[in-house]
């Protein structure tokens, strides 16, 4: 048996955050997602919109989260996740994406349905089950929509993608991912064989939200402006 060096590697469970309620975890996840977008503190109304609750409910919850140490909350000036809060969020995101991958892979659940199921189960699987699912799938790095899965240590590969509608005509790219939360969109893409990993080339585009014409696997598709905004692609030079 190889020599052990336990001192440098604390037991996994010790890093795990204290158990949180479904609501607490959902707030952490939402704040985390909003922080990815623009910088600066997250406003009450942004959270209220995303979580579909009344603004006053958000205020109340932010106070609780601050007391729990998951959030720094300054009345009238929004909230930011603490490192602990980030850990809670990433833990839930890891659960969510692993579950999505597992449902799609092991149970052949269609691409557009895994999100809703994962949205609930993410709060209720044990760390043991998380590990078993991850191992069973060969510790995947991406979920079925192409979103990166945080590592067990909760590191998340940072985003090197841009939106499809930002590409110039003639540019080639690899379709990386699309939001997992719109079933209709997912079905549409799956229906024409466009999935993460697909190589594509922009062959034309209309301005003002007009369609983007892309060539995928030798076939041309006209993708609506709204869709092209949500599809994220990786280009050669986005790796620079």
């Amino acid at each position: 048996m190889a020599h052990t060096r336990t001192s440098s590697k604390t037991r996994l469970d010790e890093r795990r955050s204290a158990p949180a309620s479904e609501a607490v975890e959902d707030y952490a996840k939402a704040i985390y997602a909003l922080e990815r977008h623009g910088p600066g503190a997250i406003t009450t109304s942004a959270l209220a919109d995303r979580l579909e609750v009344a603004p006053s409910s958000v205020t109340a919850m932010l106070k609780r989260l601050d007391e729990l140490g998951l959030v720094r909350y300054e009345p009238y000036h929004g909230a930011t996740l603490t490192p602990t809060g980030q850990r809670v969020a990433l833990e839930v995101i890891r659960h969510h994406r692993l579950i999505e991958a597992f449902l799609a892979d092991a149970l052949e659940m269609p691409w557009d349905r895994v999100h809703d199921e994962a949205e609930i189960l993410e709060h209720y699987i044990s760390e043991d089950l998380e590990r078993r699912i991850s191992e069973k799938l060969g510790n995947p790095a991406l979920d079925p929509h192409g979103d990166p899965i945080p590592t067990p240590e909760l590191d998340l590969a940072d985003d090197r993608t841009t939106t499809l509608d930002g590409l110039e005509v003639g540019q080639a790219a690899v379709f990386a991912r699309v939001s997992d939360s719109d079933p209709a969109m997912l079905r549409y893409l799956a229906g024409r064989g466009i999935r993460p990993g697909a190589r594509l080339r922009v062959v034309g585009a209309q301005p003002f939200g007009g369609p983007v014409f892309v060539e995928v696997a030798g076939r041309e598709h006209a993708l609506g402006g709204e869709l092209a905004e949500k599809m994220r692609v990786e280009t050669r030079d986005s790796r620079a």
Copy 2:
């Protein structure tokens, strides 16, 4: 396409009971289990013991369940499940046992750990996921502890087993099942290769809770009286 006769077969989902909270489902399951044991209405204290809550909490919940139509509750005289309540209970039991089977089968989770995980997840899987899990396993009839899984129509095979400690010396039987909720007991049995389906023969017994000596696969084991009370076996004539 074959001619349809939808009238005789309502859509499955229409039979499903209204969504219930975790607590409601747990009460339904507990009442169902207690009704299996002795006949007659279930008392407040029996429920309080089993669910580990205060008796007054049970009283409050029984009122709610009565209003929800899951239970008939007569103050001071206990409660009985209505047909709807039975359906809720069986639905949860089906979830529980399918999840146990799936965790053991598809994720190699040990026999003694599946119960705790299933106890939570049973409340949160969708009907779609339930169906997929069942299909993936080939629509099993038994969970890993040998407990029967209710069918999709919520029929539950009735119990033809007796306890091991009720057998006479010399009798042969097939080990059918054991309670899923005692991990130590499960580990003990698994450790000596005694699992549901094992053929056994009683070769000796001591009275007053003394051990039962059984032969399994050519090896003799001394099983403590407490254990022998919880192990259920199927004998030839128990089928009569």
